[in-house]
């Protein structure tokens, strides 16, 4: 017994390959599909369901008709080709009406304008989404609100230019006052200055510049916007505006200042407690009562503002969750180094809180983008209900049911799936905690 007690290893063992059966497809199937009687049964049931679904959907898809002038013609072709009682998809409708799904009633001879705006949108988004791109590209982003607006709505170029100058005024006032008055006060004064600019100087400045240097393209009315063009305009604007607003609301809700906190909580709880449709009705009807009678507030702008509010309230709560997940030590370390509140938020707290909140934020964005179809309720031609109604009002396509929704749904899926994949990529890229 005694000689068993003392043990000294003189040679370290090298690692060995795992035993057979620890890799390969057999192991994968055993582990993932047939790990027990219950799971095997579920696997088989699942397979059956997939087969059953495919058997029902596939013939319908296989019998698709792409060339026809009406639903009746479609049906005739299907019957001729596949026999009495056969069903099939009639994509001929999409072939004829796809442009309405994409552009609504935007004048056909000017489709190049939304197309160019979309192209510029990608150029403007790229440097924001991918930090490896040259930072100079951010100028495209900064100018995009003006260029995008002008391309889509047309009219004189000076309107968006003067509107952008309002932001320059805001920035100037802020940078001049910030060293003396601090971030919140100078930002507040800046916003007031910009608001004065927009309300008082916008119209006369635009007119003056237009008469000096007439530069205009044909104007397009907001009511002519429709389809995915409309969804994009509302979705992209509301997404880019709701994130900063959500951040401010989340910070406001955590603020020590009673007034700021109460206002933030009140705003968030009110907006979250009310259905989006109610807000949209407010946008289309009630705002008209509150604003001075001669102001003609564009319907799309009104909808964008309320969709932004709606999304911002949700995003604020998502970000608050991210803030709560940060250890207190991060705040203390930032304080101990002498960073002031805004520096600490910008450099330490927000980068981490936003990173934690990416899945939630992107979910909110996806929800917002899909919610843009609700503008159908205030008489705008969204791609799902609005355009489909118009298509079905045509005697040729009366009674078509699945195809328009599948088409619009597929486009929505592509866009939302893209957002979701981007967020997963971003999460992986920003992962630095190496846990």
């Amino acid at each position: 017994m005694q000689e068993q007690l003392v043990f000294v290893r003189n040679q370290m063992l090298p690692p060995e390959a795992p035993p057979p059966g620890q890799k390969g497809i057999a192991r994968w199937m055993r582990e993932n599909l047939f790990s027990g009687p219950m799971n095997s049964a579920l696997t088989l049931l699942g397979l059956l369901a997939v087969v059953w679904l495919a058997l029902h959907v596939l013939p319908w898809l296989m019998h698709s008709v792409w060339n026809a002038n009406s639903l009746n013609e479609c049906r005739q072709i299907i019957q001729d080709r596949w026999g009495e009682g056969a069903t099939g998809a009639c994509w001929a409708m999409v072939r004829e009406r796809w442009h309405q799904y994409l552009y609504g009633f935007y004048p056909q001879d000017m489709y190049w304008r939304p197309n160019l705006a979309l192209l510029l949108l990608f150029a403007a988004l790229a440097p924001v989404l991918f930090s490896s791109l040259p930072r100079k590209m951010l100028w495209i982003t900064a100018l995009y609100p003006a260029t995008g607006f002008w391309l889509l709505w047309g009219g004189t170029i000076w309107a968006p230019v003067v509107a952008m100058m309002g932001f320059v005024v805001l920035w100037l006032v802020f940078t001049v006052l910030q060293p003396r008055l601090g971030v919140p006060v100078s930002a507040g004064i800046g916003v007031v200055a910009a608001a004065v600019w927009w309300m008082v100087l916008q119209a006369p400045m635009t007119d003056a510049l237009q008469s000096l240097a007439p530069l205009r393209i044909r104007a397009v009315d907001s009511r002519d916007f429709g389809g995915f063009l409309l969804s994009f305009v509302i979705g992209v604007t509301a997404i880019s505006a709701s994130l900063p607003m959500g951040i401010l609301l989340a910070l406001g809700r955590k603020s020590d200042m009673l007034l700021v906190r109460t206002l933030s909580v009140g705003f968030i709880e009110f907006i979250r407690g009310v259905p989006l449709i109610t807000l949209l009705f407010t946008a289309s009807l009630l705002l008209q009562y509150f604003l001075p009678p001669e102001t003609n507030f564009d319907i799309i702008l009104r909808v964008i503002i309320l969709v932004t509010f709606f999304a911002a309230a949700y995003i604020a709560e998502v970000i608050r969750g991210g803030l709560a997940a940060l250890p207190r030590g991060q705040y203390e370390a930032a304080d101990a180094l002498g960073l002031d509140y805004w520096q600490a938020q910008r450099l330490i707290i927000m980068p981490q809180a936003l990173k934690i909140s990416i899945p939630g934020i992107v979910s909110s964005f996806i929800g917002l983008f899909k919610d843009t179809t609700l503008v159908a309720f205030v008489g705008l031609n969204d791609p799902l209900k609005g355009i489909t109604q118009i298509v079905r009002a045509d005697i040729n396509w009366k009674g078509i049911y699945w195809e328009p929704y599948i088409f619009a749904g597929a486009l929505f899926f592509l866009i939302c799936f893209g957002m979701s994949r981007y967020s997963m990529w971003l999460e992986r890229k920003l992962k630095t905690d190496h846990r």
Binding site: P327, G329, L337, G338, L339
Partner: protein, 259 residues
Amino acid sequence: MAEHAIDRSKMKVSDEVAVQITQMNKWYGQFHVLRDVNMTVHKGERIVICGPSGSGKSTLIRCINRLEEHQSGQIIVDGTELTNDLKNIDKVRSEVGMVFQHFNLFPHLTILENCTLAPIWVRKVPKKEAEETAMHFLRKVKIPEQANKYPGQLSGGQQQRVAIARSLCMKPRIMLFDEPTSALDPEMIKEVLDTMIELAEEGMTMLCVTHEMGFAQAVANRVVFMDQGQIVEQNEPREFFNNPQSERTKLFLSQILGH
């Protein structure tokens, strides 16, 4: 403790006052955490604060850079009194470095960025210069090769040394250590203590909350014992350990040195 002899040539206590605490009281709600604390720290002092848990020692040093607010009395740090004035608070904080028990490095920034952030944004040092300073201090704490890694890739001892370097990059006049070795594995404590000893050898004014009595004996010029929010006893280390005066100190020392 330290195998190599400690170089005491620069460890000089000057007459200049670094921190002056007078009649300071603090409450957490109803709980009276710090009671009538009076303390004068001179430039160049190395003070070790010890005491049982809950005695208020961490709270005391956290009051010195206003991570905690005191309700009565006076704290003057380097000539600036700590009040509600945010400007004064930020001024004091940029002069006082702090090292935390849980390091509190910024996990989304590299080691180098952790060290250059405050100099760039608070001191407005050009980026290039800040990086040079950071590399200087990272070499000093002996981890320059980790500069481009993230905190999560480093061991606890390395992270704590980075935290010390991060504070030093602000060129502080006073360093506060809040139980810097308590969250570390035993084999990593020494590397952090060695870094702190080196700092002491250069004449840094230090206040350390720690249970490392070996460190106290080696470098401290004063040991402060706290209990129930009060300073019970303070003395130079040899006297403090060999000849404690109060019963509470004797009991505490017998408990931590007894085994």
